[in-house]
Amino acid sequence: MPESGNSGAPKARDSFDMQEFVALHGDRLVRSAYLLCGDRTEAQDLAQETLIQAFKSWSRYRADSALYTWVHGILLNLCRRYHRKQKRLIYDDELLRNESMATTAPQSADLDYCGRTLAQAIRELSLEHREAIVLRYFDNMKIHEIAHQLGVSEGTIKSRLHYAVRHLEDLLPRELNQFVSDGTDNNGLP
Protein backbone atom coordinates (compact mmCIF):
# COMPACT_ATOMS: atom_id res chain seq x y z
CA MET A 1 0.00 0.00 0.00
CA PRO A 2 1.10 3.52 -0.53
CA GLU A 3 0.69 4.05 3.19
CA SER A 4 3.83 2.05 3.87
CA GLY A 5 5.97 4.50 5.70
CA ASN A 6 2.88 6.30 6.92
CA SER A 7 1.64 3.43 9.00
CA GLY A 8 -1.80 3.65 10.50
CA ALA A 9 -4.64 6.02 9.76
CA PRO A 10 -3.69 9.27 8.10
CA LYS A 11 -3.34 12.11 10.56
CA ALA A 12 -3.40 15.83 10.11
CA ARG A 13 0.13 17.07 10.58
CA ASP A 14 1.30 20.51 11.50
CA SER A 15 4.18 20.59 9.06
CA PHE A 16 5.40 18.82 5.99
CA ASP A 17 8.80 17.34 6.70
CA MET A 18 10.03 17.18 3.14
CA GLN A 19 13.36 15.64 4.06
CA GLU A 20 11.62 12.74 5.77
CA PHE A 21 9.11 12.33 2.95
CA VAL A 22 11.82 12.31 0.29
CA ALA A 23 13.80 9.75 2.26
CA LEU A 24 10.76 7.49 2.66
CA HIS A 25 8.98 7.88 -0.66
CA GLY A 26 11.26 9.75 -3.06
CA ASP A 27 12.54 6.69 -4.93
CA ARG A 28 9.11 5.12 -5.11
CA LEU A 29 7.63 8.32 -6.47
CA VAL A 30 10.23 8.65 -9.22
CA ARG A 31 9.75 4.99 -10.20
CA SER A 32 6.01 5.47 -10.40
CA ALA A 33 6.60 8.60 -12.49
CA TYR A 34 8.85 6.61 -14.81
CA LEU A 35 6.25 3.86 -15.30
CA LEU A 36 3.61 6.48 -16.03
CA CYS A 37 5.63 8.62 -18.43
CA GLY A 38 8.12 6.07 -19.82
CA ASP A 39 11.13 8.38 -19.68
CA ARG A 40 13.75 8.29 -16.93
CA THR A 41 14.90 11.89 -17.26
CA GLU A 42 11.36 13.17 -17.43
CA ALA A 43 10.50 11.05 -14.39
CA GLN A 44 13.09 12.96 -12.33
CA ASP A 45 11.62 16.28 -13.42
CA LEU A 46 8.08 15.10 -12.74
CA ALA A 47 8.99 13.85 -9.27
CA GLN A 48 10.73 17.13 -8.49
CA GLU A 49 7.82 19.22 -9.68
CA THR A 50 5.38 17.00 -7.81
CA LEU A 51 7.18 17.33 -4.50
CA ILE A 52 7.68 21.07 -4.78
CA GLN A 53 4.05 21.55 -5.74
CA ALA A 54 2.95 19.32 -2.87
CA PHE A 55 5.03 21.37 -0.46
CA LYS A 56 3.59 24.64 -1.69
CA SER A 57 -0.02 23.48 -1.58
CA TRP A 58 0.34 21.38 1.51
CA SER A 59 -2.23 23.43 3.44
CA ARG A 60 -4.85 21.93 1.15
CA TYR A 61 -4.06 18.40 2.31
CA ARG A 62 -7.14 17.27 4.23
CA ALA A 63 -5.75 14.06 5.75
CA ASP A 64 -8.65 12.02 4.40
CA SER A 65 -6.06 9.85 2.63
CA ALA A 66 -2.42 8.97 3.23
CA LEU A 67 0.07 11.72 2.47
CA TYR A 68 1.73 9.59 -0.20
CA THR A 69 -1.61 9.00 -1.93
CA TRP A 70 -2.28 12.74 -1.96
CA VAL A 71 1.18 13.49 -3.36
CA HIS A 72 0.74 10.72 -5.92
CA GLY A 73 -2.48 12.41 -7.04
CA ILE A 74 -0.42 15.50 -7.89
CA LEU A 75 1.98 13.29 -9.82
CA LEU A 76 -0.91 11.80 -11.83
CA ASN A 77 -2.09 15.28 -12.80
CA LEU A 78 1.39 16.32 -13.87
CA CYS A 79 1.80 13.10 -15.88
CA ARG A 80 -1.45 13.79 -17.70
CA ARG A 81 -0.25 17.29 -18.50
CA TYR A 82 3.04 15.81 -19.74
CA HIS A 83 1.19 13.40 -22.05
CA ARG A 84 -0.98 16.20 -23.39
CA LYS A 85 2.19 18.14 -24.25
CA GLN A 86 3.73 15.07 -25.85
CA LYS A 87 0.71 14.62 -28.08
CA ARG A 88 1.30 18.07 -29.50
CA LEU A 89 4.84 17.22 -30.50
CA ILE A 90 5.44 15.87 -33.96
CA TYR A 91 6.83 12.44 -33.40
CA ASP A 92 9.47 11.19 -35.77
CA ASP A 93 8.44 7.83 -37.19
CA GLU A 94 12.04 6.86 -37.70
CA LEU A 95 12.83 7.58 -34.07
CA LEU A 96 9.86 5.49 -32.99
CA ARG A 97 11.02 2.58 -35.11
CA ASN A 98 14.56 2.79 -33.74
CA GLU A 99 13.33 3.05 -30.16
CA SER A 100 11.04 0.08 -30.48
CA MET A 101 13.78 -1.97 -32.14
CA ALA A 102 16.21 -1.03 -29.42
CA THR A 103 13.87 -2.01 -26.61
CA THR A 104 12.19 -5.08 -28.06
CA ALA A 105 15.00 -6.77 -29.92
CA PRO A 106 15.44 -10.24 -28.46
CA GLN A 107 18.82 -9.93 -26.82
CA SER A 108 18.27 -13.08 -24.82
CA ALA A 109 15.40 -15.45 -24.16
CA ASP A 110 15.71 -15.24 -20.42
CA LEU A 111 13.43 -13.78 -17.79
CA ASP A 112 15.07 -10.41 -18.12
CA TYR A 113 14.05 -10.16 -21.77
CA CYS A 114 10.49 -11.26 -20.98
CA GLY A 115 10.27 -8.69 -18.19
CA ARG A 116 11.49 -5.95 -20.49
CA THR A 117 9.09 -7.02 -23.21
CA LEU A 118 6.22 -6.93 -20.77
CA ALA A 119 7.30 -3.50 -19.56
CA GLN A 120 7.44 -2.33 -23.18
CA ALA A 121 3.94 -3.69 -23.75
CA ILE A 122 2.74 -1.81 -20.68
CA ARG A 123 4.20 1.39 -22.11
CA GLU A 124 2.14 0.86 -25.24
CA LEU A 125 -1.10 0.92 -23.25
CA SER A 126 -3.24 4.02 -23.31
CA LEU A 127 -2.68 6.44 -20.44
CA GLU A 128 -5.94 5.47 -18.72
CA HIS A 129 -5.10 1.77 -18.79
CA ARG A 130 -1.50 2.37 -17.79
CA GLU A 131 -2.56 4.49 -14.81
CA ALA A 132 -4.83 1.69 -13.62
CA ILE A 133 -2.14 -0.97 -14.08
CA VAL A 134 0.60 1.09 -12.40
CA LEU A 135 -1.56 2.04 -9.41
CA ARG A 136 -2.74 -1.54 -9.03
CA TYR A 137 0.45 -3.50 -9.55
CA PHE A 138 3.22 -1.04 -8.72
CA ASP A 139 1.68 1.15 -6.03
CA ASN A 140 -0.36 -1.84 -4.80
CA MET A 141 -3.51 0.17 -4.36
CA LYS A 142 -6.83 -1.53 -3.89
CA ILE A 143 -9.65 -1.11 -6.38
CA HIS A 144 -11.59 1.44 -4.31
CA GLU A 145 -8.42 3.45 -3.66
CA ILE A 146 -7.63 3.62 -7.36
CA ALA A 147 -11.21 4.65 -8.07
CA HIS A 148 -10.92 7.45 -5.49
CA GLN A 149 -7.54 8.53 -6.80
CA LEU A 150 -8.62 8.71 -10.43
CA GLY A 151 -12.11 10.03 -9.67
CA VAL A 152 -14.00 7.24 -11.43
CA SER A 153 -16.17 4.35 -10.28
CA GLU A 154 -14.85 1.00 -9.08
CA GLY A 155 -16.59 -0.66 -12.03
CA THR A 156 -14.65 1.56 -14.42
CA ILE A 157 -11.38 0.62 -12.75
CA LYS A 158 -12.20 -3.10 -12.95
CA SER A 159 -13.07 -2.67 -16.60
CA ARG A 160 -9.85 -0.77 -17.34
CA LEU A 161 -7.77 -3.39 -15.55
CA HIS A 162 -9.57 -6.18 -17.37
CA TYR A 163 -8.94 -4.66 -20.81
CA ALA A 164 -5.38 -3.69 -19.95
CA VAL A 165 -4.55 -7.21 -18.82
CA ARG A 166 -6.27 -8.71 -21.85
CA HIS A 167 -4.29 -6.38 -24.09
CA LEU A 168 -1.05 -7.49 -22.43
CA GLU A 169 -2.00 -11.12 -22.87
CA ASP A 170 -2.74 -10.52 -26.55
CA LEU A 171 0.59 -8.85 -27.02
CA LEU A 172 2.67 -11.34 -25.13
CA PRO A 173 1.15 -14.79 -24.92
CA ARG A 174 4.35 -16.76 -25.34
CA GLU A 175 6.76 -14.52 -23.50
CA LEU A 176 4.34 -14.10 -20.66
CA ASN A 177 3.83 -17.83 -20.33
CA GLN A 178 7.57 -18.38 -20.24
CA PHE A 179 7.93 -15.54 -17.80
CA VAL A 180 5.29 -16.61 -15.34
CA SER A 181 5.83 -20.35 -15.51
CA ASP A 182 9.33 -20.14 -14.18
CA GLY A 183 8.66 -20.86 -10.54
CA THR A 184 6.27 -17.99 -10.05
CA ASP A 185 3.11 -20.01 -10.48
CA ASN A 186 1.07 -20.77 -7.42
CA ASN A 187 -0.95 -23.94 -7.50
CA GLY A 188 -2.25 -23.82 -3.97
CA LEU A 189 -5.76 -22.58 -3.42
CA PRO A 190 -6.34 -20.06 -0.67
Partner: protein, 183 residues
Protein backbone atom coordinates in the same frame (compact mmCIF):
# COMPACT_ATOMS: atom_id res chain seq x y z
CA UNK B 1 -22.36 -17.86 -6.06
CA UNK B 2 -21.95 -18.28 -9.80
CA UNK B 3 -18.91 -17.77 -11.99
CA UNK B 4 -19.92 -14.25 -12.97
CA UNK B 5 -20.18 -13.18 -9.31
CA UNK B 6 -16.86 -14.82 -8.63
CA UNK B 7 -15.10 -12.95 -11.42
CA UNK B 8 -16.67 -9.72 -10.24
CA UNK B 9 -15.42 -10.23 -6.70
CA UNK B 10 -12.04 -11.64 -7.65
CA UNK B 11 -10.04 -8.40 -7.15
CA UNK B 12 -11.52 -7.86 -3.68
CA UNK B 13 -10.98 -11.54 -2.93
CA UNK B 14 -7.31 -11.26 -3.87
CA UNK B 15 -7.04 -8.09 -1.73
CA UNK B 16 -8.76 -9.79 1.21
CA UNK B 17 -11.41 -7.07 1.30
CA UNK B 18 -14.53 -9.26 1.29
CA UNK B 19 -16.66 -9.75 4.36
CA UNK B 20 -16.34 -13.09 6.15
CA UNK B 21 -19.48 -14.66 4.59
CA UNK B 22 -18.51 -13.43 1.12
CA UNK B 23 -14.98 -14.69 1.60
CA UNK B 24 -16.32 -18.14 2.60
CA UNK B 25 -18.76 -18.26 -0.33
CA UNK B 26 -16.04 -17.23 -2.77
CA UNK B 27 -13.60 -19.80 -1.41
CA UNK B 28 -16.25 -22.55 -1.60
CA UNK B 29 -17.05 -21.64 -5.19
CA UNK B 30 -13.37 -21.63 -6.03
CA UNK B 31 -12.88 -25.10 -4.62
CA UNK B 32 -15.80 -26.48 -6.62
CA UNK B 33 -15.38 -24.72 -9.98
CA UNK B 34 -12.44 -25.81 -12.11
CA UNK B 35 -13.00 -22.99 -14.58
CA UNK B 36 -12.76 -20.34 -11.85
CA UNK B 37 -9.74 -22.09 -10.35
CA UNK B 38 -8.04 -21.66 -13.70
CA UNK B 39 -9.12 -18.03 -13.93
CA UNK B 40 -8.00 -17.27 -10.37
CA UNK B 41 -4.64 -18.96 -10.90
CA UNK B 42 -4.16 -17.09 -14.17
CA UNK B 43 -4.98 -13.75 -12.52
CA UNK B 44 -2.65 -14.40 -9.63
CA UNK B 45 0.18 -15.44 -11.94
CA UNK B 46 -0.39 -12.49 -14.22
CA UNK B 47 -0.39 -10.07 -11.30
CA UNK B 48 2.86 -11.56 -10.07
CA UNK B 49 4.46 -11.31 -13.49
CA UNK B 50 3.40 -7.68 -13.92
CA UNK B 51 4.78 -6.82 -10.49
CA UNK B 52 8.05 -8.56 -11.39
CA UNK B 53 8.22 -6.69 -14.69
CA UNK B 54 7.69 -3.38 -12.90
CA UNK B 55 10.34 -4.27 -10.35
CA UNK B 56 12.86 -5.20 -13.03
CA UNK B 57 12.08 -2.10 -15.02
CA UNK B 58 12.50 0.27 -12.07
CA UNK B 59 15.32 -1.45 -10.20
CA UNK B 60 18.25 0.88 -9.89
CA UNK B 61 16.11 3.95 -10.53
CA UNK B 62 16.15 6.42 -7.68
CA UNK B 63 15.76 10.10 -7.10
CA UNK B 64 18.94 11.77 -8.41
CA UNK B 65 21.04 13.55 -5.77
CA UNK B 66 20.70 16.72 -7.80
CA UNK B 67 16.91 16.41 -7.94
CA UNK B 68 16.85 15.69 -4.22
CA UNK B 69 18.96 18.78 -3.57
CA UNK B 70 16.73 20.93 -5.77
CA UNK B 71 13.64 19.79 -3.91
CA UNK B 72 15.08 20.37 -0.47
CA UNK B 73 16.49 23.76 -1.49
CA UNK B 74 13.09 24.82 -2.79
CA UNK B 75 11.39 23.64 0.38
CA UNK B 76 13.94 24.92 2.86
CA UNK B 77 13.23 28.51 1.93
CA UNK B 78 10.10 28.49 4.01
CA UNK B 79 8.47 25.85 6.14
CA UNK B 80 4.72 26.05 5.61
CA UNK B 81 2.60 26.05 8.75
CA UNK B 82 -1.09 25.69 9.03
CA UNK B 83 -2.68 29.06 9.70
CA UNK B 84 -6.06 29.71 11.23
CA UNK B 85 -7.19 31.27 7.98
CA UNK B 86 -6.28 28.07 6.13
CA UNK B 87 -9.34 26.35 7.57
CA UNK B 88 -11.73 29.01 6.34
CA UNK B 89 -10.01 29.27 2.97
CA UNK B 90 -10.02 25.52 2.56
CA UNK B 91 -13.71 25.42 3.45
CA UNK B 92 -14.50 28.04 0.85
CA UNK B 93 -12.29 26.25 -1.65
CA UNK B 94 -14.12 22.98 -0.98
CA UNK B 95 -17.48 24.65 -1.58
CA UNK B 96 -16.16 26.21 -4.72
CA UNK B 97 -14.77 22.91 -6.01
CA UNK B 98 -17.66 20.71 -5.07
CA UNK B 99 -20.54 22.87 -6.12
CA UNK B 100 -20.86 23.71 -9.75
CA UNK B 101 -23.93 25.64 -8.72
CA UNK B 102 -21.84 28.19 -6.89
CA UNK B 103 -20.42 29.40 -10.16
CA UNK B 104 -23.82 29.47 -11.81
CA UNK B 105 -25.39 31.41 -8.92
CA UNK B 106 -22.56 33.93 -8.86
CA UNK B 107 -22.88 34.39 -12.59
CA UNK B 108 -26.60 35.01 -12.31
CA UNK B 109 -26.07 37.47 -9.45
CA UNK B 110 -23.52 39.38 -11.47
CA UNK B 111 -25.87 39.36 -14.42
CA UNK B 112 -28.68 40.80 -12.28
CA UNK B 113 -26.42 43.46 -10.83
CA UNK B 114 -25.07 44.60 -14.16
CA UNK B 115 -28.29 44.20 -16.10
CA UNK B 116 -29.33 47.73 -15.21
CA UNK B 117 -26.00 49.11 -16.33
CA UNK B 118 -25.98 47.17 -19.56
CA UNK B 119 -29.57 47.35 -20.71
CA UNK B 120 -31.50 50.00 -18.80
CA UNK B 121 -30.99 53.49 -20.10
CA UNK B 122 -30.97 56.13 -17.43
CA UNK B 123 -34.37 57.74 -17.24
CA UNK B 124 -34.01 61.45 -16.77
CA UNK B 125 -36.86 63.68 -15.92
CA UNK B 126 -37.82 66.16 -18.67
CA UNK B 127 -36.19 69.47 -18.09
CA UNK B 128 -38.49 72.10 -16.78
CA UNK B 129 -38.87 75.14 -19.00
CA UNK B 130 -36.62 77.80 -17.72
CA UNK B 131 -37.64 81.36 -17.49
CA UNK B 132 -35.23 82.46 -20.21
CA UNK B 133 -36.08 79.78 -22.74
CA UNK B 134 -38.68 80.72 -25.37
CA UNK B 135 -42.10 79.25 -24.70
CA UNK B 136 -42.85 76.06 -26.49
CA UNK B 137 -45.38 76.13 -29.31
CA UNK B 138 -47.56 73.25 -30.14
CA UNK B 139 -47.68 72.68 -33.86
CA UNK B 140 -49.88 70.35 -35.76
CA UNK B 141 -48.43 69.10 -38.95
CA UNK B 142 -51.05 67.93 -41.28
CA UNK B 143 -48.90 66.23 -43.84
CA UNK B 144 -50.14 62.79 -44.70
CA UNK B 145 -47.31 60.43 -45.34
CA UNK B 146 -48.33 58.21 -48.13
CA UNK B 147 -45.70 55.84 -49.15
CA UNK B 148 -45.11 52.23 -49.76
CA UNK B 149 -41.84 50.79 -48.74
CA UNK B 150 -40.79 47.59 -50.35
CA UNK B 151 -38.47 45.52 -48.17
CA UNK B 152 -36.92 42.15 -48.64
CA UNK B 153 -34.91 40.06 -46.22
CA UNK B 154 -33.55 36.56 -46.00
CA UNK B 155 -35.24 34.19 -43.59
CA UNK B 156 -34.26 30.51 -43.42
CA UNK B 157 -32.51 30.73 -46.78
CA UNK B 158 -35.63 32.20 -48.41
CA UNK B 159 -36.20 35.69 -49.65
CA UNK B 160 -39.20 37.24 -47.97
CA UNK B 161 -40.75 40.27 -49.63
CA UNK B 162 -43.09 42.62 -47.87
CA UNK B 163 -44.71 45.96 -48.52
CA UNK B 164 -45.10 48.37 -45.63
CA UNK B 165 -48.26 50.40 -46.34
CA UNK B 166 -47.87 53.16 -43.78
CA UNK B 167 -45.23 54.76 -41.65
CA UNK B 168 -45.75 56.17 -38.21
CA UNK B 169 -43.49 58.97 -37.10
CA UNK B 170 -42.58 58.22 -33.51
CA UNK B 171 -40.44 61.21 -32.82
CA UNK B 172 -39.44 64.24 -34.81
CA UNK B 173 -37.39 67.29 -34.19
CA UNK B 174 -37.98 70.54 -36.00
CA UNK B 175 -36.01 73.66 -36.10
CA UNK B 176 -37.08 77.16 -36.93
CA UNK B 177 -40.29 78.99 -36.31
CA UNK B 178 -43.50 77.16 -37.02
CA UNK B 179 -45.93 79.01 -39.23
CA UNK B 180 -49.64 78.70 -38.82
CA UNK B 181 -51.31 76.46 -41.30
CA UNK B 182 -52.87 78.23 -44.26
CA UNK B 183 -55.80 75.83 -44.54
Amino acid sequence: MNCEDFNDKLPEFLDGLLSAPEQTATREHLQQCLCCQKSWRHQAVLAKSIRLAFKQETDGLSLNPETRRNILNACNQREPRRKASDGVLAWLAAIWRRSAWTGAVLFLLLLLIFRGVLYDRPTTAPALPSATAPPRKLCVIDVPIKTKIHVSRTEKNMMVDAVIPSVMVAQATFSGEAKPSSH
